[in-house]
Amino acid sequence: MKRHLSILAVLLLGLCGAAAFGARPFPSGSDAAAILAAVDARSSGSLAPKDMQSSMVMTIHQGATTKVREIMAWSRNNKDKDDDRLMKFLAPADVRGVGFLVLGGDTMYIYLPEFHRTRRIASSNKKDAFMSSDFSYDDLGTGEFAKSYDPVLKEDKADVWILELKRKPGSDTAYPKIIMTVDKAKSVAVKSELYDEAGRLAKTAEQTPTQVKGYWIPTVIKMTDNRKNTSTTMELKDAKVDQGIGDDLFTERSLVRKVQG
C-alpha cells in the first residue's frame, strides 16, 4: 500500500512538474473543447508568454513576385482582449522606420517617417490583407478560438488531433469553418485549414513551433491563399519572452523612435 502511494505521489509530482514547466495540460482525447482550450491557453492564455520581442522576416510570394519585409516586433499578452503589439519596419530601405502600434486588437496607430506623422487608423475591415500579405488583420489577431468557435473532434491520430471548428452564431470571424490539426505533445495548432462562406478552402496556415524558455512559440508561420495561389511566410528570429516589457513601449512615442537593427 505504502509503495503504491509512493508511486502515485511520484507520478502526481511528475505531472505537476511537467505542467509547471509548460508541458501539455493533457486534455482528454475525446474532449474537443478541452483541446481547443489548451490551444488557446498556449497561444494567448495562461500558458502563453507575458510578452515577447523578436525580429521577423515576412516573405510574400505572389506569382513571380517576392517581397521581403524585415520587422522588429514586440507584443504583450492581455488577459481579456487581443495582445498589444508594436512593429517597426527595418527593411526594405524605403519603409524603414514605419511603425505600427496595435492596442488591444482594435486601436491602431501608424507612423510614417517620411511624413513625420503618426495617425490613428480605425479599421473595421479586419478581413483586409495586412501589408498585402496573405494574412488578414483578423488572421493576425490573438483572440481565443473558443470564444468564436464550437469544436468537434474529427480524428484522434498518433501525434495529432484533428478538430473541426464551426463558427458560433453571432460571431463575426471571417471563416465559418476551420479544420485544425493540433500537435498532441505541444498543444499547438500546427495546421489550420480556413474555409470561406461558400465552403471552399480559402487559406491554409501552417506553423512550426519552437520552444523558447518553456513556451511553444510558432517561429515559422506560412499562410497560403488557395484561391489566389499566393503565400506568405513569417519567420521569427531571436525571440525573447517574459522580459517585463512595460506600458511605455506601447505608446505613440515609441512608435516614432528609431530602431537599431
Partner: protein, 957 residues
C-alpha cells in the same frame, strides 16, 4: 457531261432519295448542338499589338470584362431592405471564381478623417434600421464624388454594381448563368433591373439573334412560298425549290452543330442568302422541266425520265457555273482577317454547295418520280410573257440610251460611297424600347457609361514619383475627352491617402514617401484592378458613355496623338534643390508650362471649355515669382509646431512649461526667415538647451528637429499651393470636386522639389522618365480596330469577289470582253447600293457589309443564266437582238419569280427586333431589285452596244 451526270442520277433516283434522307436525319441531329457566341474581341486577329494588349489587360486586370448591374428600386435605394439586397448580391457574386471583383455601395471604401487619424471601413459596414439613420447614410453617400456615377446616381435614385468578370472563363456564359440569374433572384422584381456592358451585349445579341432566327425564318419561308405559288401557280411546282433551300439550310446548320462552330450575329443572314441564291438553282431546274413538259406533253407522258434528263442537263451547266462562281467568291472571304466574316464566307460556300448538289440531284430524282405539274398558260402567265417581251423590245431598241442612264446612276452612286459611315458597336443595333438599349441609356445617363476606356503603362516601377506624375497627366488628358468618365488610377489612390494622412492632395516627391503610403494601400481590393503586385504594370480606368463607332474612333485617334506627342517630348526629372537659383527658376517655368497643359485638360472635364495652356502658364509663372502674403505663414507654422510639441508622439517627456518654451523657440526660428525655414541644427540646439539633461537624447533630438523643419516646410508648401490656386481663380473659377482635387495635386508639383519637364527645357544630364510601354486599351481600341477591319474586309471581299467572278466569266465565256460585260450588272448593283447607304446615312455594319457579297452572288447568277441562253441562241443561228429577246422569255420568268420571292423574304427582316437586321432586310430588297434590273437591262444593252466578237458570228453571216 451534264447529260451523263443527270442520267446517272435519274437512273439511281431511289438511292439518291434515300441518301438525301439519311443526310437530312444526321444533320437534324446536329441542330440541337448549335450555339450563339458574339464576343467581338474574338473576331479580331490577335497579332495586332493593341488587340494583344487588350487581351493582356483583360487577363491581368479584368479591365475590359465589366457588366454593370443597374437598378432603380421603387422603394428607393436607401431603405434597409434595398441596402440589404445590395450587400447580399455583392457577396454572392464576389465569392464566385468566375468573378474577378465586384464594386457596389456595399463594399466601396468609406475613408474619413477623424480628429487624430482616419477611419476606414466598407460603406455598408452596417445598415441603419431607423429612418433617420438611413437618411443620414443617403446624405453621406451623395456627398462623396467618388460614389456618384460609380455606385450611385447623382439623384440617388439608381444604384449600380460593377461586376468585373474573370478572363479565365467564358464571359458571356458567366453573364447568362451567374450574373443575371443571381441579380434577378436576389434583387427581385420591383427593382427596374438592367444589365449593360460588352459581356451583357454579347448575351443580348445571342438572345435576340436566336429569337429572330426562330421567329423570322418561318415567316420568310411562308412569304417566299406564297410568292412562288403566285408565280408558278402550282404547289407541286414550288415545293421542289423550297425543298432545296430548306434542306440546304438543315444540312448546313446540322454540320455547323456537329463541328461545334459558334453562330454569330450575322449567321441569320445565311438562310436568307441560301434563299436568295439556292432557290434560284431549284427554280431554274423546275421551270425548265415544267416548260419542256408543257411544250411536249406527249413525250412527257411517254418517257418522263428522258424528258427530265434532257431538261435538267440543259440547266445543270449554268447552275454549276453560277454555284462555282458563288462558292469561290465566298471562299475568298477566308483571306479576310475578321474571323466573323471569314467564317460566314465558309458557311455560305458550304450552304451553296449543298443547294447546288440538291438542285442537280434531288430535284431530277424527284421529278422522274413525281410530276411537277404543267406551266399553266393562264392570264397571269400570258401577261408576264407580254411584260417580258415589252421589256426586251425596249432594251433592244435603245441600248445606247439605256447604257448612258446606268452610267449616270453609277456615277451618282460612286459619289455617295464616300459618305458611307461605319457602325460596329452593338449598342446601335437595339431598338429604342428594347431592354439592352434602356440599360445603355441608364448607364450613360447615370453612371458615365458602361464601356471601359483605359490607358496602360509598364515600367520597372510605375510607382516611381516622376512616373506617377506622368500617369496622372495622362488621366487629366483622358478626362478632357467628351463622354469619358473621370478616370481612376493609382495616382488618385495615393493622393487620396496623402490627403487623409497628411492633409495634402499631392503625389509625394520621393520614392520613400510613396512607399510609406503604399504600405497602407497594399491589400486594398481595388488595387488588383489597377496595378500588378510587382508594380510593373498599371492602368488608368475610365468609361465612355458614347459607344458609337464615330465617337470611339475619334477618342482613339486623340489618344494616339497624345501618346505620340508625349513620347516625342521625352520628359525628364529634375531635383530643383540641386540646381542654382537661376536654373531652378528656369526649370520651374518650364514645369509651369508642362503642368498648365494638364490643368487645361483637367478643366475641360468631359469635353467642356478651358483656358489655353499658355494663359495658365503665364499666371503660374507670375504667381511663383510673388512672395506669400505677409503675416500668415509664421502664425500657421507656430500653431503646428505647438501641436507637435504637445502631441503624444513628441519624442521627449517634459513638463508643459518646458514644452511651451520649446514650441516658442522653434517658432522663433521659423519667424526669423520670410519662408519660415527652421534650420535643423538650430532646432537641435533649442531642444538641448531647454530639455532636462536626463531626458535629452541626441538621436531623438535630431529626429524631433527634422520633424520641426518638415512641419515648417509643409506649411509653406500648403500655403503656396493655396496661393497659386487663388491666383488662378480668375482664369479657372472653382470647378467640380474632381477638378479641384486634380488642380491641387498639379499645383503641389509646382511647390515641391521635384520637377518633370520636357527634355528640351531641362538642364543637360537630367534623368529621363520612360515607360517600357504606354498605350491605350479598352472599348475605343476594339471598336476602331473592328471598324477598320470591317472596312478593309468589305473592300477586300468585294474586290476579290469581282476579280474571281471576272476570271471565271472570262474562263467560261472564253472572251475577255464578254467577261468584262458580265460583271457590269454586279458592279452597277454594288456601286448604287453602297452609294445609297452613304446618301441615306445607313451605316456599314456587320450585316450591311454582306449585302455587297450577296448582290454579287445573285447578280452573277442572273448574268450567267442570261448569257448562257444568249450564247446558245446565237449558236443556234439567231442574231444578237433575237437571242436577247429569247433569253428574256426563257430566263426572265425564273429570274423575276426568284427576285419577287427573295424580295418578299428579305422584307420579313423588317420585322426583326434588331435595327441591324431591319437595315439589312431593306438594303437587300433594294439590292435584289438592282441585280434584276442590271441583268435584264444593263447587260443586254451593253451586249448590244459593244457586240463582242464571240456573239457576232451570225451578224456577219
Amino acid at each position: 457531261m451534264a447529260r451523263k451526270w443527270t442520267a446517272w442520277v435519274v437512273r439511281r433516283r431511289i438511292p439518291v432519295l434515300i441518301i438525301c434522307g439519311l443526310i437530312t436525319v444526321a444533320a437534324l441531329a446536329g441542330v440541337p448542338r448549335l450555339r450563339f457566341y458574339n464576343k467581338m474581341t474574338d473576331w479580331l486577329p490577335k497579332d495586332d499589338p493593341q488587340m494583344a494588349l487588350y487581351h493582356e489587360t483583360s487577363a491581368t486586370f479584368s479591365a475590359n470584362n465589366v457588366v454593370l448591374v443597374i437598378a432603380r428600386p421603387k422603394a428607393g435605394v436607401f431603405t434597409a431592405e434595398t441596402l440589404g439586397k445590395i450587400r447580399t448580391l455583392t457577396k454572392a457574386l464576389k465569392d464566385r471564381e468566375e468573378i474577378f471583383s465586384v464594386t457596389s455601395l456595399s463594399n466601396v471604401a468609406d475613408i474619413k478623417k477623424t480628429a487624430d487619424g482616419i477611419e476606414v471601413r466598407d460603406f455598408l459596414d452596417s445598415i441603419p434600421a431607423d429612418p433617420e439613420g438611413l437618411k443620414a447614410l443617403a446624405k453621406l453617400a451623395r456627398s462623396k464624388d467618388r460614389y456618384i456615377g460609380q455606385v450611385l446616381s447623382a439623384d440617388g435614385e439608381w444604384f449600380a454594381l460593377s461586376v468585373f468578370l474573370s478572363d479565365k472563363v467564358e464571359t458571356i456564359s458567366a453573364v447568362e448563368k451567374i450574373v443575371i440569374p443571381q441579380a434577378e433572384k436576389i434583387l427581385g422584381g420591383d427593382m427596374g433591373l438592367f444589365f449593360a456592358g460588352s459581356p451583357s451585349d454579347g448575351h443580348f445579341i445571342n438572345l435576340y439573334t436566336r429569337r429572330d432566327l426562330v421567329f423570322l425564318v418561318p415567316i420568310m419561308l411562308a412569304a417566299i412560298i406564297l410568292i412562288l405559288f403566285l408565280s408558278l401557280r402550282s404547289w407541286r411546282g414550288l415545293l421542289p425549290p423550297v425543298l432545296v433551300v430548306v434542306l440546304a439550310n438543315v444540312w448546313l446548320f446540322g454540320l455547323i452543330g456537329w463541328m461545334k462552330r459558334p453562330m454569330t450575329i450575322i449567321t441569320p443572314a445565311i438562310p436568307v442568302l441560301l434563299l436568295a441564291l439556292g432557290s434560284a438553282y431549284g427554280l431554274y431546274v423546275v421551270n425548265k422541266i415544267r416548260s419542256d413538259c408543257d411544250a411536249d406533253r406527249d413525250r412527257a407522258a411517254k418517257d418522263r425520265r428522258a424528258m427530265v434528263i434532257a431538261s435538267t442537263a440543259a440547266v445543270v451547266t449554268p447552275i454549276l457555273y453560277a454555284a462555282v462562281t458563288d462558292i469561290i467568291g465566298f471562299l475568298a472571304f477566308r483571306s479576310v482577317k475578321l474571323s466573323l466574316i471569314a467564317d460566314f464566307g465558309v458557311f455560305a460556300a458550304v450552304g451553296l454547295f449543298f443547294a447546288a448538289v440538291l438542285a442537280t440531284t434531288l430535284l431530277p430524282a424527284l421529278a422522274s418520280t413525281i410530276d411537277f405539274g404543267a406551266a399553266r398558260s393562264g392570264k397571269a402567265h400570258q401577261g408576264l410573257t407580254r411584260f417580258l417581251e415589252a421589256g426586251a423590245a425596249r432594251v433592244v431598241r435603245k441600248p445606247g440610251l439605256t447604257l448612258a442612264v446606268f452610267v449616270v446612276l453609277m456615277v451618282v452612286g460612286a459619289a455617295g460611297i464616300f459618305r458611307v459611315e461605319r457602325e460596329v458597336g452593338f449598342s446601335g443595333f437595339y431598338a429604342k424600347n428594347s431592354m439592352p438599349r434602356k440599360a445603355m441609356d441608364a448607364a450613360n445617363l447615370h453612371f458615365n457609361g458602361a464601356y471601359p476606356d483605359s490607358f496602360f503603362f509598364e515600367a520597372e516601377d510605375v510607382r516611381d514619383p516622376a512616373r506617377l506624375r506622368l500617369i496622372r497627366r495622362a488621366e487629366s488628358f483622358l478626362s478632357s475627352i467628351p463622354s469619358v468618365s473621370p478616370p481612376l488610377g493609382v495616382p488618385d489612390l495615393i493622393e487620396e491617402l496623402n490627403d487623409q494622412m497628411n492633409d495634402r492632395i499631392a503625389l509625394p516627391e520621393t520614392k520613400s514617401a510613396v512607399e510609406n503610403l503604399w504600405l497602407l494601400l497594399e491589400g486594398r481590393r481595388e488595387l488588383a484592378q489597377m496595378i500588378t503586385p510587382d508594380g510593373r504594370q498599371t492602368i488608368i480606368y475610365s468609361k465612355i458613355s458614347d459607344p458609337t463607332t464615330k465617337f470611339c474612333t475619334d477618342a482613339y485617334n486623340r489618344a494616339e496623338t497624345y501618346f505620340k506627342s508625349e513620347a516625342a517630348r521625352r520628359p525628364v526629372q529634375v531635383e530643383l534643390n540641386a540646381l542654382s537659383p537661376d536654373q531652378a527658376i528656369s526649370v520651374r517655368a518650364a514645369e509651369a508650362g508642362f503642368l498648365a497643359e494638364e490643368l487645361s485638360w483637367a478643366a475641360q472635364e468631359g469635353g467642356g471649355s478651358a483656358p489655353a495652356p499658355a494663359a495658365i502658364k503665364d499666371v503660374l509663372v507670375a504667381a511663383l515669382a510673388k512672395e506669400l502674403p505677409a503675416g500668415r505663414l509664421q502664425p500657421e507654422v507656430a500653431q503646428k509646431i505647438r501641436a507637435f510639441c504637445f502631441a503624444p508622439s513628441f519624442p521627449f517627456e517634459a513638463s508643459p512649461a518646458q514644452m511651451e518654451t520649446i514650441a516658442g523657440r522653434l517658432s522663433d526660428l521659423a519667424a526669423a526667415s520670410p519662408e519660415a525655414v527652421i534650420p535643423e541644427a538650430a532646432a537641435v540646439a533649442v531642444l538641448k538647451k531647454h530639455l532636462p539633461p536626463s531626458v535629452y537624447d541626441p538621436d531623438l533630438a535630431a529626429e524631433a528637429a527634422a520633424t520641426a523643419a518638415y512641419i515648417a516646410r509643409e506649411a509653406r508648401e500648403n500655403m503656396r499651393e493655396a496661393f497659386l490656386r487663388a491666383e488662378l481663380k480668375p482664369l479657372i473659377p472653382a470647378g467640380s470636386a474632381t477638378f479641384e482635387k486634380r488642380a491641387a495635386a498639379v499645383l503641389y508639383d509646382l511647390v515641391d522639389g521635384l520637377a518633370v519637364v520636357p527634355a528640351a527645357e531641362a538642364p543637360a544630364g537630367a534623368a529621363p522618365v520612360t515607360f517600357k510601354r504606354a498605350d491605350q486599351t479598352g472599348y475605343p481600341v476594339m471598336t476602331t480596330k473592328l471598324s477598320s477591319s470591317l472596312f478593309r474586309s468589305q473592300i477586300q471581299s468585294i474586290l476579290l469577289a469581282m476579280a474571281v467572278t471576272l476570271f471565271l466569266m472570262i474562263l467560261m465565256r472564253k472572251s475577255v470582253v464578254l467577261g468584262l460585260i458580265s460583271i457590269l450588272p454586279i458592279t452597277f448593283a454594288t456601286v448604287v447600293m453602297y452609294g445609297l447607304l452613304g446618301i441615306a446615312r445607313i451605316p456599314l455594319d456587320y450585316a450591311t457589309m454582306l449585302t455587297g457579297s450577296i448582290s454579287i452572288g445573285v447578280g452573277i447568277d442572273y448574268t450567267i443564266h442570261f448569257l448562257y441562253v444568249v450564247s446558245e441562241e446565237v449558236r443556234a443561228g439567231h442574231q444578237l437582238p433575237e437571242a436577247i429577246r429569247l433569253a428574256f422569255l426563257e430566263r426572265g420568268r425564273a429570274m423575276l419569280s426568284n427576285t419577287a420571292a427573295v424580295t418578299a423574304g428579305f422584307s420579313t427582316l423588317l420585322l426583326s427586333s434588331f435595327v441591324l437586321l431591319r437595315s439589312f432586310g431593306g438594303i437587300m430588297v433594294l439590292s435584289m431589285l438592282l441585280c434584276f434590273i442590271g441583268a435584264m437591262t444593263l447587260l443586254p444593252a451593253a451586249l448590244l452596244v459593244v457586240r463582242p466578237r464571240i456573239l457576232r458570228a451570225n451578224d456577219e453571216k
